[in-house]
Amino acid sequence: MGAAHDDGTRATGHHSEVTLTVNGTPHTLHLDHRRVLLDVLREDLGLTGSKKGCDHGQCGACTALVDGRRVNSCLLLAVTLDGCEVITVEGLTDGAGEPHPLQRAFLDRDAFQCGYCTPGQICSAVGVLAEAEAGHPSHVTDPATAPGRPVALDAAEIRERLSGNLCRCGAYPRIVEAVEDVI
């Protein structure tokens, strides 16, 4: 498993072998330590659904799910993710290639225009639904809400929770409707 081990073996060089499971398929890759997950997906695995909008965690277009949590894949060094499970927008369709309900809802609501932020919006929304179910509050959640209970997602909650995903085409109102459709 290369230079980086859970027991803390020293990395000798600037590359390591890393195993990632992406959309259910394990990949073992010899990677430059500088390579972030986003570039692994786009350059090494040909999964270009995750987009590079800013490369600095400022737009959300690269959002993917790592071990079930939504993250900015542009800021995650792939070497740190050895053994992790990654889901991208390409991995949300079911086995028969049918769109995920959120993908369907985005189509139904015309919740995008240029489409460049769309995979990130969808992956982020998948994460939002799980976080709300797990009782994670947001900036707009009533502080009196009991901890640990699922948080009901109204439009204000959806907007706040999706605010890490910028859309320059201004599809926001339709995106909120699309997320509301699958709740």
Partner: protein
């Protein structure tokens, strides 16, 4: 005029939608090409001067580095019409951020690291980047952007103003704004023998091909430009930008496919921006509210290498009846990045200022601002004297007022509150010209009963594939699902860009013509079609660009409600509603998205977006998406967009006007007017961020009386 009408106007789903939501749609950096490498530009670190040395050894020693292009060794290109494309040709540095080198390496990481290792020495000169209304070097250009005369004048505006009983004399300031499409400007260039194939993020591939053939002295048939999916543009990809020139140079130099994906932080200085505009508006009216004079004077900046004058005073030539008017533009050449098109150039900042001033005039008159606008409706276009092909501004205002509940509004400023919040509502009008250009198209009938239309249109998010199939199905009189459209490739029939809200009209016209011709051929034919089908061609040159005896514009009305927090000065929009009269709406679904998108960008202009030209260093301080605040989800409430059915026989065969920009025009003014209504304070400098608003709230409340 049209065919069956069955396909036009229906809310057809985007044809590329499924690809976009599943991650399958490929953008300019995403086409698999064996051996593809990556390039990273090195931006100039001074605001004005000359490169005296570029030290590339350290960069070239790094692993993966393949080449460093500088003005010393980069391929020479024919001098471009657009000086911003003349990259790596001379040692001159016209502004901070100008590309002074390009590093090519195997991977993006290696390219970035090598770019960081390039050391550049400069002979630095004093710079001036500070725009002021009385800048000593301000001049009156011959033309403003888009060919409009810089100055128009009729009547005696100064005399009429001086003698008017009601006057408003106010100044507004719109800061530099950045387009920031979500996909940064990206090009991948690939030499296949002596053929050049370019995948680029552009609003118009035909123009990119024309520029590349000129710059690199190539015959047209050896250049293919593909712009299959484009991650937004908003004007900043309307013409080729340096990324495509750099990519072609690097591919030629290295013999490999090269991708130049501009780093987000490079965009503000490289791809154009909306120039800051300083506005002075003088409105004079009689006591009944009829305008007697309208003066709109604009000062803006342009760069040392390119004259681009934001045509912000132009909408005042269209909007209101007045016996005396002066509209003029002045520009200052500064050591700033070259400004360029941004969604609704001219109209967007110009209508912010004009519609804010109209609101101030309504306050000065004690008149309802909807009524004031209706009262000053012109019978003909004020500047040209031409009749309007259609103008339904009054209907938009009235319909919007009805839907918004305007009649329940207490006109007094600062009359509504909720605890520490002040609430207010505002209205503004919108206008955008109808633009259309000549295009070619081809329509083919196949033996299986299906049809293909081919045109080098570009889908920057408007849904061009879908709406062109609708136009074709309508003209052919066949079901929509039997028509396929091919776009986004310069080997297709040539077409103008997706810009100026002209794309659908221009492409659609030629598609309509080709399909009409094809339908005629089919009608006069018996027996089965040959295997390759039969094809009809169209070219609307001389037709689409013919002078019209009519003044052709879309119009609209915006209504907004805001809450202003008196503790923090934070302004949030509670609701927005727009009503538009833009000819025939060809796809209700995608049209709504475009209107809402334009309104959202106006919200950003009003409240969150602003760029600062750093006088000391000559760069835009807000260079990334963390500091340049494009509105986020939480900023954008429910937005309603409506339209009225507008029949206009003087446009094009579809009867459509453009819809990509009008949603943006006037929306910032509606929000600003709502902030005045909420607070009683008139803010005249955008964006309305807490620093400005809090300071304003500390000032005494104005009565709303101007003049």
């Amino acid at each position: 005029m049209t065919g069956t009408g069955s396909a036009l106007g229906v809310p057809a789903e985007r044809r590329e939608g499924r690809q976009k939501v599943t991650g399958g749609a490929r953008y300019a950096a995403e086409h698999p090409l064996p051996g593809r490498v990556h390039a990273w530009p090195v931006p100039a670190g001074v605001a004005r001067g000359r490169v005296t040395a570029v030290h590339t050894e350290a960069a070239l020693d790094l692993p993966g580095a393949l080449a460093v292009l500088t003005h010393d060794n980069a391929p020479r290109i024919t001098e471009p019409d657009d000086p911003t494309l003349a990259v790596l040709q001379t040692p001159g540095v016209p502004h901070r951020g100008w590309p002074v080198a390009l590093v090519v390496a195997r991977t993006p990481e290696e390219a970035r690291a090598a770019a960081e290792a390039v050391r550049v020495e400069y002979a630095v000169e004093e710079h001036d980047v500070r725009l002021t209304a009385d800048h000593p070097e301000a001049y009156e250009p011959e033309k403003a952007n888009a060919g409009f005369p810089a100055r128009r004048e009729w009547g005696d505006p100064d005399g009429a103003f001086a003698s008017a009983p009601v006057r408003v004399d106010v100044s507004y300031h719109v800061p530099p704004l950045h387009n920031h499409p979500m996909e940064p400007h990206t090009s991948t260039a690939h030499w296949d023998g002596d053929r050049l194939v370019v995948y680029t993020s552009s609003q118009g591939g035909t123009a990119v091909r024309a520029v590349l053939t000129a710059l690199f002295e190539l015959p047209e048939d050896r250049v293919t430009v593909v712009a299959d999916h484009v991650g937004g543009g908003f004007g900043s990809k309307g013409t080729p930008r340096p990324d495509v020139v750099l990519a072609v140079m690097a591919a030629r130099e290295t013999g490999r496919p090269v991708t130049v994906a501009l780093p987000r932080r490079h965009l503000p200085s490289v791809v154009g921006h909306r120039a800051p505009t300083l506005h002075r508006l003088r409105l004079a009216a009689d006591t009944g509210g009829r305008l007697t004079a309208l003066t709109h004077e604009v000062v803006t900046h342009t760069s040392r290498i390119k004259e681009f004058v934001e045509q912000a005073a132009v909408p005042a030539r269209v909007m209101y009846a007045t016996p005396a008017s002066r509209t003029l533009h002045r520009a200052v050449r500064l050591d700033v990045p070259s400004p360029s098109w941004m969604r609704a150039p001219g109209e967007s900042p110009g209508m912010y200022a004009l519609e804010s001033a109209m609101d101030e005039l309504a306050g000065a008159l004690g008149m309802d601002p909807v009524d004031l606008r209706v009262l000053n409706e012109p019978e003909r276009e004020p500047d040209s004297g031409k009749p309007f092909s259609s103008r339904h501004l009054t209907e938009c205002l009235r319909e919007g007022a009805r839907r918004f509940g305007w009649d329940r509004r207490d006109p007094r400023p600062r009359a509504r509150g909720e605890g520490p919040l002040l609430l207010g509502t505002g209205v503004a009008a919108a206008t955008y010209p109808v633009l259309v250009g000549p295009s070619r198209a081809e329509a083919r009938a196949l033996p299986d009963g299906s049809f293909v239309v081919r045109v080098n249109a570009t889908d920057i998010g408007t849904g061009a594939r879908t709406v062109l199939a609708q136009v074709a199905a309508d003209a052919l009189g066949v079901p929509l699902e039997r028509v396929r459209s091919e776009i986004g490739d310069s080997d297709l029939p040539s077409a103008p860009l997706a810009g100026g809200s002209s794309g659908t009209a221009s492409w659609g016209w030629s598609v309509h013509r080709a399909c009409t011709e094809l339908a005629d051929q089919l009608g006069s034919r018996t027996g089965p079609l040959p295997d390759e089908g039969i094809t009809a061609h169209a070219d609307t040159a001389g037709l689409a660009d013919a002078d019209s005896p009519y003044a052709r514009h879309a119009f609209g009305a915006h209504f907004a409600e805001v809450a202003v927090d008196t503790v923090t000065g934070e302004v949030r929009v509670r609701r927005m509603l727009g009503v538009f009269a833009a000819g025939r709406i060809l796809n209700a679904r995608t049209a709504r998205s475009q209107f809402i998108g334009g309104m959202t960008m106006g919200l950003g202009m009003a409240l969150t977006e602003g760029s600062t030209m750093d006088a000391a260093f000559g760069d835009f301080t807000e260079a990334d998406l963390a500091s340049y605040h494009v509105p986020a989800h939480a900023d954008v409430p429910a937005i309603e967009a409506h339209w009225i059915d507008e029949e206009d026989a003087h446009l094009n065969p579809m009867g459509s006007k453009g819809i990509g920009e009008i949603g943006n025009v006037g929306s910032a003014a509606a929000i600003g007017n709502a902030v005045h209504h909420a607070t009683g304070v008139r803010f005249r400098e955008l964006p309305l961020t807490p620093d400005k608003v809090l300071a304003g709230l500390a000032r005494p409340v104005t009565s709303g009386r101007g003049g």
